[in-house]
Amino acid sequence: MLYNKSAVYIGIVILVILLTSPFWVGLFGHNYTSTGITTPKDQATCIENADFMRAQHMRLLNEWRDKALRDETRTYVATDGKKWEISLQNTCMRCHTNYKSFCEKCHLSNSVSPYCWTCHIIPTEGK
């Protein structure tokens, strides 16, 4: 004996739809392709190639911090021979002036929240 047959069946259907909802969103929803960040227009390349920077910039920044603060080697000679001052504010942010559409956009889509900006100063135009 099953009481309230129709309500139970509707409930089961709703439950199945809810449980499988991630698949439906993935199948018919908007596809994730890019974080939509805008890179600086006036520069062709970053200090190293884009793939390396995309994957390793956080580790590179850590290495830069240790090299500059502890070993006092405050100049980085990139593979193309170009010399850069090791500084987040004076080198990175000179080109990547727009914090909102570069750093923040990508960090938000990847749900990471680095706390660089409690001390380092964001360029005024990108706040």
């Binding site: 200090i47 190293e48 390396f52 390793q56 580790r59 590179l60 290495e63 830069w64 911090r65 240790d66 090299k67 603060l69 502890r70 070993d71 006092e72 080697t73 405050r74 100049t75 980085y76 000679v77 990139a78 593979t79 001052e85 090791i86 500084s87 504010q89 004076n90 706390y115 409690t118 001390c119 380092h120 100063i121 360029p123 005024t124």
Partner: protein, 262 residues
């Protein structure tokens, strides 16, 4: 002796040797962990200044009143975004105090009136034996090869052991978010600090790397000298050779790198 037993002892003693001598730990893992990540190379800037041991000589005879030190303090605090917080929780990089507070080892109760009224500039002494470095549990503060006692604010956990260790009161704790007292950073090319870290004078290591002398030295018009203590021909060594100088609390054995011409 039984051969089996003999063999066992051989293997046991060899393994004990290997374990205790560190042969076993000579794996590749340790070396790989230290490998450099960046494909480029690290080096010094073309214009950067180098020394074996940086030191400062302050000619206090050239300063008459507290107002004479004002431009120096302003230059330092502007260059490093140091806030001015009213009360006893202020941040001090370069500050002033009386003779008896600066040089408490001098127990003479009858100082000259000139000395009683004088003020002296105080900053981190960048000691040869820095107590702050010894007590820091995270190695957030450390002594560099050129004698500068530096800080890595990223590593500071705000335990304030260094403040207890420093006999000169040269370290300040950020009880508040310093940016609240610094509505606009006065120098956009230098970071601020955050709540919960300790900070102090850096001997302007970031300026030396660009070939500039420390901000206070630059603002003093030659009344403060800065140079290599190991080089007998440096300005600081010449000034020390020609004048009577004192250092703060010398009996503690910290060997300060800041000298006062009195």
């Amino acid at each position: 002796m039984n051969t089996n037993r003999r063999k066992f002892l051989k293997i046991a003693s060899l393994s004990a040797f290997a374990l205790s001598s560190g042969v076993a730990s000579l794996g590749l893992g340790a070396k790989e962990a230290q490998a450099q990540l960046a494909p480029g190379a690290y080096g010094h800037g073309d214009k950067s200044l180098h020394a074996k041991r940086w030191a400062m000589v302050i000619d206090t005879r050239e300063f008459k009143t507290a107002a004479d030190y004002e431009p120096l303090i302003k230059a330092c605090h502007r260059a490093h975004n140091v806030p001015d917080i009213p009360g006893n929780k202020n941040i001090k990089w370069l500050w002033l105090d009386s003779y008896e507070h600066c040089f408490p080892d001098d127990m003479n109760p009858h100082l000259s009136t000139k000395m009683q009224q004088a003020v002296f500039p105080l900053l981190c002494n960048h000691c040869t034996n820095p107590p702050c470095v010894r007590v820091c549990p995270t190695q957030a503060t450390y002594k560099m090869a050129d004698g500068i006692v530096a800080m890595d604010y990223h590593r500071c956990i705000g335990c304030r052991f260094c403040m207890a260790g420093c006999p000169y009161g040269a370290r300040s704790f950020n009880f508040f978010d310093p940016r609240k007292y610094l509505p606009e950073p006065t120098n956009p090319s230098f970071p601020t600090r955050m709540i919960g870290v300790v900070e102090k004078c850096t001997f302007c290591a970031e300026r030396l790397a660009k070939g500039q002398l420390p901000a206070c030295v630059e603002a003093s018009n030659g009344k403060i000298l800065f140079g290599d203590l190991e080089d007998p021909n440096s300005t600081v060594r010449k000034a020390l050779a020609a004048n009577y100088s004192i250092r703060r609390k010398p009996n503690l054995g910290t060997q300060p790198g800041v000298y006062y011409l009195i």
